[in-house]
């Protein structure tokens, strides 16, 4: 019943069916939650804020706190200035955050509210208490995607906090990208194991994976601190992980504070994690400790032990561009064939990069940015695959086509684990290997006739 996708491919002029992205503000909200003591604020209608909170809650199974300017008809005519003023008053009186991170919506963008001058006025009038911060990012919903919103809010952290004081510390900055709390913790751990002091921002670990404490806390103990954000301007370098989510923040830091940046792929899978570790080696001048080389060894061990199950398998893959780029490379490293690759986020770089990764390895792959799951499904109907990888929305396709399915990316609304177990680093690669193998082998078991149903695989 749910399979209403025709096999015949028709080009659509103006229509999105079953999207593979969402809008900017939710990404900005998620990024802002990665600052300690920060209350994200949605400058728009109440619904935006409610939807983003619900969506994030469904993904993280955690309370997600954010306030809204609660636009009304009046605000849409006369501007949302009064709403933002009242909002800041309420927020600092009642919720007492260290920082308010304002993001706009399609409504306030189109009306043209000038957030910095509104905030400036509020501060002059004593609405924003001394020692408290209000930062903002413009996140029009009709430009880019949720990844763009994440990038914009992360860049705002640099714009508002990074200080150039002439000195250079031995620390490096890491912009981890739109990844899970578990991933942020893992990336930090790897840097620490390499003997580096790293400032990671944003950092949602300890915020959206908090333990049960019998207390509801508006501001959980995790998140990057403002002091650390200020110091990013005197770090020796920045590693931006993922071009789409993280490069802009690194570039601005370089421009503002002369901190050189390198943009790497998200460390998902073996090759991109290798490159990440190599970059860390360059900074630390140390060889990796045994913990890290052993972790890598285990990944290689599984890749070789189980290669026959991976080799030559056709895969369809969708999700956020930085994730999909690294994952595509990992699949190719395993001898798999990613033949349909989609992201909903616009950006020519994506198609260019994926084609480069597939060059000489996979002939005739369908690759498209700014696309949707309807398109992906049509491709799959025309050339079936052995495995589907993507966020929860892939389950419709997996069911319709009876394809083994591995959940990966954002959002995952129907399983847990992503908040706790990373997919980044070598440990993450190991987890991805396990998840893919489970899916593939469960299918083999299910489909095997009794005569060839095997105990040992």
């Amino acid at each position: 019943m749910l399979d209403m996708t025709p096999k015949e491919i028709f080009e659509r002029k103006a229509l999105r069916i079953n999207p593979a992205k969402t809008c900017q503000p939710i990404g900005a909200m998620y990024a802002a939650l990665g600052i300690h003591g920060c209350l994200p604020h949605s400058h728009g209608s109440q619904g935006c804020c409610a939807y983003h909170r619900s969506h994030l809650t469904r993904h993280y199974k955690e309370p997600v706190m954010a306030s809204t300017s609660s636009f009304t008809e009046g605000a849409s005519v006369f501007g949302g200035g009064a709403n933002l003023r009242q909002a800041l008053k309420t927020i600092f009186q009642v919720y007492d955050p260290e920082i308010v991170a304002v993001h706009t919506t399609c409504l306030s963008e189109t009306i043209g509210d000038d957030i910095p001058s509104l905030v400036k006025k509020a501060r002059e009038d004593g609405i924003v208490p001394d020692g408290k911060y209000v930062i903002h990012a413009n996140t029009p919903s009709y430009v880019g995607s949720h990844v763009t919103g994440f990038s914009n809010m992360t860049t705002a952290m640099v714009k508002y906090f990074s200080e150039k004081n002439g000195g250079r510390t031995s620390a490096i900055n890491i912009v981890p990208g739109y990844v899970e709390p578990s991933d942020m913790a893992e990336i930090k751990r790897l840097a620490t194991e390499m003997g580096l002091e790293a400032i990671l921002f944003p950092d949602t670990s300890g915020v959206l994976d908090a333990p049960q404490t019998a207390r509801f806390s508006m501001y959980p103990k995790g998140g990057v601190k403002v002091d650390a954000l200020k110091k990013t301007g005197s770090s020796r370098a920045t590693l931006s992980l993922g071009k789409f989510a993280s490069e802009a923040a690194g570039a601005l830091l370089e421009q503002m504070c002369d901190v050189p940046y390198q943009c790497l792929d998200l460390p998902i899978g073996i090759s991109s994690t290798d490159r990440f570790i190599e970059a860390l080696i360059e900074f630390s001048g140390q060889t990796p400790p045994a913990t890290i080389t052993d972790e890598r060894g285990r990944v290689v061990d599984v890749m070789t032990d189980m290669l026959q199950y991976f080799h030559g398998k056709k895969v369809a893959l969708f999700g956020d561009p930085d994730h999909v780029i690294s994952m595509t490379e990992f699949l190719v490293d395993l001898g798999m064939k990613p033949i349909h690759v989609v992201t909903g986020t616009p950006g020519k770089y994506f198609e260019h990069r994926i084609k480069k990764i597939l060059d000489g390895k996979v002939k005739h792959a369908n690759v498209r940015a700014f696309s949707d799951l309807f398109m992906l499904h049509q491709w799959i109907k025309n050339e079936p695959v052995d495995l589907l990888i993507g966020n929860t929305y892939g389950k419709y396709i997996a069911r319709a086509e009876d394809i083994p399915f591995v959940r990966f990316g954002f959002p995952i609304l129907d399983r847990i684990g992503h908040s706790y177990f990373p997919t980044t680093g070598y440990r993450g690669a190991l987890r991805l290997l396990e998840k893919m193998l489970d899916a593939i082998l469960d299918r083999l078991d299910r489909d095997a006739p009794e005569s060839s149903f095997e105990l040992v695989m």
Binding site: C48, E62, T68, E73, A87, T110, R215
Partner: protein, 449 residues
């Protein structure tokens, strides 16, 4: 109360027994509050979404379509067109030059592809600002294709969810009245305000069938355009819920002279009351007899089953925070039937009459809140030491963080909670939650012991 409440919110919180009752409600949320409320679009989408054979096209940036894509288990007995996500995915260029062309092209493409029975086109904030004339587009496409296209004026900023219900009803009334009504029984009703979550409308429909009553249309759970077009042929509108579809019933009364009654299908008392009132309306002996024997039959099997649950649940404390207040009345009675105490009750969009009635049916000491927020709710939950919290998606993690049991009585419920069988399911769920051994490990209990 030892709970910190926002100064501006003190009028929206009341503890029964503390002075004369008064509660401010239907206010706009204070800007800056971490409100649990949504927008006009959300209200309209919730009401219209379960119409299964219609096209639902969201005209706006992608988010509005994504966040309402198949998030509600509104089951269908036939087509499932409502479970796909269609959006015009407005871009910057459209915001500058207008999105009407894109909307028209999208509608034409979708109608050709899916042959829907009707199409709803939802307006979002941005469309209200750039001024696309979606009415004109709908009219043109209706004429071109013969498929009725209905604009839903659901710009998010125009109010709260309640305003969205109105916009949805204004869209629905355009369908009603355009189908043939011959052959409809004099003992016939429309079911309004039920969304067929977990198949609930099928339970209710079956009760009416056993009573000898014809259900002409279900609005909107398992909704079908053809049936809604015939809705004006029914003799009575039976309206559930906190008035999401109440204004449709009022419009139908005015336009077609169809009376309506308000009911609830949650809990034993309200369920039985609903059926009796419908039977009463028709003043038919056979129907009344059928109703009596149906209710007796159902209760005879339900009560013994509930007994076991009651034994364990007696004296446990419950808190309720729901979208519409109407559901809260039934929940209070249902908890009472299980021997439990309701110590906190609140809603996002209750009206003055709703809260007056809540005040009347609650016990002294019960806290009543309008348009609450997480901080306030969590303080009350702790202060009242509750065993189970009933709410929706945004309330769930708050309960879990505190180490309190939770029951989803909203979009994400997986078991039917309406009808007599629903009372059993509810009791079972409450029992499983409250009595689970996992609570022994939560810090809240450890701290107390």
């Amino acid at each position: 109360m030892n709970v910190n409440i926002l100064e501006e919110r003190t009028g929206q919180v009341y503890e029964k027994g503390q002075g004369p009752f008064s509660l401010k409600c239907n206010l706009d949320s204070l800007p800056g509050a971490v409100s649990q409320r949504a927008c006009v679009f959300c209200g309209s989408r919730v009401v219209l979404y379960p119409i299964t054979d219609a096209l639902h096209l969201v005209h706006g940036p992608i988010g509005c379509a994504v966040y309402t894509w198949d998030i509600r288990g509104a089951l269908s007995s036939n087509r499932e067109l409502h479970r796909l996500s269609f959006s015009t995915d407005l871009r910057e260029r459209d915001v500058i030059f207008g999105g009407e062309e894109k909307l028209e092209a999208s509608l034409l493409e979708l109608i050709e592809r899916y042959m829907p029975s009707a199409a709803f086109v939802y307006s979002t904030c941005i469309v209200g600002i750039i001024g696309d004339d979606i009415q004109a587009v709908c009219k043109r496409v209706s004429q071109k294709t013969g498929v009725k296209c209905i604009p839903v004026q659901s710009e998010g900023f125009k109010g709260n969810k309640r305003a969205g219900y109105e916009a949805a009803c204004n869209a629905l009334i355009e369908l009603v009245g355009s189908g043939p009504i011959d052959g409809i029984s004099p003992f016939s009703i429309n079911i309004l305000g039920d969304f067929n979550l977990a198949g609930e409308i099928w339970i209710i429909k079956d009760y009416y069938r056993r009573m000898g009553i014809e259900v002409v249309s279900t609005i909107t759970g398992d909704g079908k355009v053809k049936e809604i077009q015939r809705a004006h042929g029914a003799r009575l509108n039976v309206v559930q819920c906190s008035g999401a579809t109440l204004s449709l019933a009022k419009m139908m009364e005015e336009r077609y002279g169809i009376p309506y009654i308000r009911v609830s299908y949650f809990g034993v008392d309200d369920m039985a009351d609903a059926l009796y009132r419908v039977a009463d309306h028709f003043k038919d002996k056979r129907i009344m007899e059928n109703t009596r024997s149906l209710i007796k039959e159902e209760l005879d099997s339900l009560y013994p089953a509930l007994k076991e649950f009651r034994k364990d649940l007696k004296g446990k404390r419950a808190a309720i925070y729901v979208g519409g207040a109407f559901k809260a009345f039934s929940l209070i009675k249902a908890f009472r039937l299980l021997g439990m105490k309701v110590v906190l009750v609140g809603s996002q969009t209750g009206t003055r009459e709703d809260y007056e009635e809540l005040e009347a049916v609650t016990d002294p000491g019960t806290v009543i809140v309008d348009d609450s927020n997480p901080l306030e709710l969590s303080e009350f939950l702790k202060e009242k030491d509750v065993d189970i919290f009933v709410g929706g998606v945004k309330e769930r993690p708050i309960a879990y963080k505190l180490g309190i049991g939770f029951c989803d009585h909203n979009h994400e419920r997986k078991e039917a909670l309406e009808g007599f069988i629903g009372m059993y399911n509810f009791a079972k769920e409450v029992h499983a939650t409250v009595m689970s051994p996992v609570w022994r490990f939560v810090p809240r209990k450890e701290m107390r012991s």
